[in-house]
Symmetry: C2
Subunit: 306 residues, 2 copies
Amino acid sequence: MTVLYNRVALVGLGLIASSMAHAMRRGGLAGEIVGTARSAETRKVAAELGFCDRIVPTAAEAVDGADLVVLAVPVGAMGTIAEEIGPHLAPGATLTDVGSVKRAVVDAVAPHVPEGVTFIPGHPLAGTEHSGPASGFAELFENRWCLLLPPEDADPAKVDRLAALWRAMGSNVDFMDIERHDLVLAVTSHAPHLIAYTMVGVADDLRRVTDQEVIKYSAAGFRDFTRIAASDPTMWRDVFLNNKDATLEILGRFTEELFALQRAIRTGDGDLLFDYFTRTRAIRRSIVEAGQDTAAPDFGRVGTKR
Amino acid sequence: MTVLYNRVALVGLGLIASSMAHAMRRGGLAGEIVGTARSAETRKVAAELGFCDRIVPTAAEAVDGADLVVLAVPVGAMGTIAEEIGPHLAPGATLTDVGSVKRAVVDAVAPHVPEGVTFIPGHPLAGTEHSGPASGFAELFENRWCLLLPPEDADPAKVDRLAALWRAMGSNVDFMDIERHDLVLAVTSHAPHLIAYTMVGVADDLRRVTDQEVIKYSAAGFRDFTRIAASDPTMWRDVFLNNKDATLEILGRFTEELFALQRAIRTGDGDLLFDYFTRTRAIRRSIVEAGQDTAAPDFGRVGTKR
């Protein structure tokens, strides 16, 4: 139990921030945790759950005297918040964020960071389909990667301390370049999310198949898509709008490939399909071997009784 | 414990057939279970695992004297098997199958069904990403739907008995028309599988992002796709080739919709994206409420430690 920061300010109290609070509490990593959220309802729920030491009504109050400030709001709100808290950040403080897009966040936040404050963008690759202050839990970051993207001139001691916090919360820490981050995440996260949203939307919209049929018979594959497509709408709207180029590039490649497979189906090219499906199976194996998913069949789902 | 069939012949010994054997054993539903598979290796593994009472080398031998014959081979192999066993089917026997496509199976199998044998096509909507005789387990069908598609003139007593077997193995049973089945499954299963295969293939193929990055950072969404894309290549090749029209129709709708969302991203139409993502979230809720998936975050995944 090492206190890494005397006062941590969480701006935004959704899944990520509440999970951080639980994990910091568990590890005794923060002297005090102060939380704030724009919505009074969110603040009320968070206060009731008690994962922060104090809940305050404004971001400016929250960051007062904090040696670590975490921006945990949708990507599109980061700039406004940064502008609001900039004048109130304590000299020597570290500012970080947990946004899923990095170029847009850095461009929006950096101009408001005062001299003497170190901004270290971050992105924990962890989450569930649930959102809000009641959805957090201390184990969310266990064995998940947290990417940190410090500017070249960042104080190494401050970077080490933030990395130590993430490790103490259970994460593995990697460092990455901003542009690379946005491209890699477009592949591993943003494009898959848009595709899942699309497939679920199509199923809902098709007049030839009823919603009830789609829901009843979803276990045949479709339901895996619906989990991803249940993710927070505000967060994901902002991700797509703020990682436009990389997402559209990957979707372009996806469409090209989908057309090739559709053509193979149409022309009856079984060998192409078989080889393709054999190759994708190997990737799954690598992910399980890398400890990033369970080998248990069906994700080891439990509790799906009627 | 009611014996529903005196001798059940399982032709094919993969995930579905081996799970049926385990479930029939558990419930004491079959007097004797006889299994066969084309591959000597599969027969050997199945014999070692011992979930059948007898393993025989040919389908003709397997069906001899059986009052229930289950075709559990890839859809593309159904016709050949039916031709082989036709002359050996016992008068009064029930023949069923577990293929994911129904029109093509009925067209391939029905001509070989002799007078006095009742063919009742079936499709248990259950499975995992694993395949082969060692992947089966008795609980696979619990609370999953099994669709039966009896011809109009089928003996109701025989249909009832097959439905009773599936219920006794844990399934809920529904009856459906062949063409409707192939359309509904194109939405809930076939199109989602092809899309998952495509996304995983794109990620593997992209030269701008390394395989290692894709694997390490897969937890951000991509890994859900890889589970589906790890499904048996032979089975899925045959599904797509044999449900061509419905699958291509749904993929066409999917592409149309994907283009609309891509356009919304490009033009910055946040409202459209937000509304779309809110709608898809509701579908997830319905699936959980219908008992077809767990409400636990991240599918309640466990065991993904390094």
